[in-house]
Amino acid sequence: MRFDVWMSIENSVRNYILENYLFTDDQSELTNDVSLLERGIIDSTGIMELVLFIEEAFGIKIDDDEMVPENLDSVDNIISFIKGKNSN
């Protein structure tokens, strides 16, 4: 994957979370490795919205058994998950 595409995935995931869960555009409020669940950024009702956003924004279909913390619980995990889906 090209570096600029990679960066744009990162940006759009970060911006989505900052805007919809933290209600800010201050980039310093979210680090890529933090657990979204443990920090209370996303809770049980928020995860479906995140899944729908990823499906729509990146044109991928997320299976039920892919909705696990390893794929979705941090910005880093989400980026590598999207990257993996795209290369399949």
Partner: protein
Amino acid sequence: MAHLPPIIHRLLGDSLLISAQKNPSKVVVTTNDVAYTYQELLNYSAALANALQQRGLQRGGRVAIYMDNSWPALFSLYGVLLAGGVFVMINPQTKADKLAYILNDSDAHCLLTDIQLENNFYPVLDKLQQLRHVIYAGKEKEFLVSETLIEHFDKVLDKVSPDVFIKNRSVANDLAALIYTSGSTGSPKGVMHTHLSMLFALNSLIEYLRLSDEERILNVLPLSFDYGLYQLLMTVHLGATLILEKSFAFPALMFKRILEKKVTVFPGVPSLFAMLLSFHERSKQCFPSVTRITNTAAALPADFIPTLKEIFPNALIYKMYGLTECKRVSYLEPELVDIKPTSVGEAIPGTEVFLLSPEGKPVTSGDVGILYVRGPHVMLGYWKQKELSEHMLKDDVYPNQKILCTHDWFKMDNDGLLYFVGRSDDIIKTRGEKVSPIEVEHVIYGIEGVNEVAVIGVPDAIFGQFIKAFVSLKAKSSLDDKKIKKICVAKLENYMVPKEVIVMNSLPKTANGKIDKKQLS
């Protein structure tokens, strides 16, 4: 063989002593795919109990447990009980200011927590009058020496032995827990429950849910919520097994656990069942091992039932109603779920309920009245809140005994079954949690630039209600709905954050100039 004296179930912690004696090698909990036995739970709890006593915990002293659903949270709870203390569970979503309020209000002497909550607990330590000790789980870290001693669980437990028997002189009328709940005044209040009231409630729930020691109970609800807490208490009391997850945020993980662990009891709230139904629509789910599903916190929509029966083909479905002040009020026999689809059933075993008019007169069946609850499960009152306690606890027919006035409106049919009509105060119930509009309004009023605010609950099929805030701004303020939400997220638990914030020029007023919430929707 040494003679073991029989242990009698008098205190909440006795459940653990008895179950561990009966079946020490049985698994009490699996969490994060790790299994722990009853003997391990007893060893860790007893060691912690010793450590707490060494740190000055006296009989009846309060210990706050501010943690995610985790193994340390479990042995913390039983550790406090074995030491003769009173546990205070605090939702891990609680932010710094409210955490400080609860720690001060309860006069907690010790805080048991997780390092990942450091951003909330560390900054408030110097504001706490009574707190002397913090013991934390998770990654070890160096802290500056201060008046409060901050130690890691591993270091604390290494130095004590679980074998030294702890003399616990508590009696059943002593407090076992303070359970904090939102109040109409805006500040949370601690519901006082004794060993007696909690053990009574526990046995009543076990009876009507028809549970045995073979159950594998799934708990994805926070242990700070009494519904989640009682899943643990019931498990240990029965000698059964708990499947503990942090939340239901990752449905696939939850489904995997149900299948792998052959879960038999599935406690949920309407938002959890709604999520399950939407998954079932994407791809069919079926969990034949589950024999009981339970719902409380908000009404389970009747049209969920047919699909729930598809997902859980072998399960009895229990609709229930309760409030922290007596743990649970009523349940509907599962055989009636289709016959009485809107009822929340009858009083739980060993208790009674009745309806009175606002003047205190009996109400004929079919008419609306205020629901009263009578039984040993009723709380002692609110911690240090005499007036509020008197508002909820009324005189019984026998002297010096109290009954609980729920202040909720109900109807009762000819079969004695209850139907919820509405609340008589303006507390919002969303996602199963009680939210005081005043508490949310306080936070929004604290924002620079806000002139007026009114917070209301708007009816919602899944959440029960969702929170909506109406705000007017001071001249030249550049605030908008997003900035207001941002501050709410930083100060309030997630479920308290308004879903919608509407900025208006001014808020509607009554003739007396008070904000008229009736005109807002």
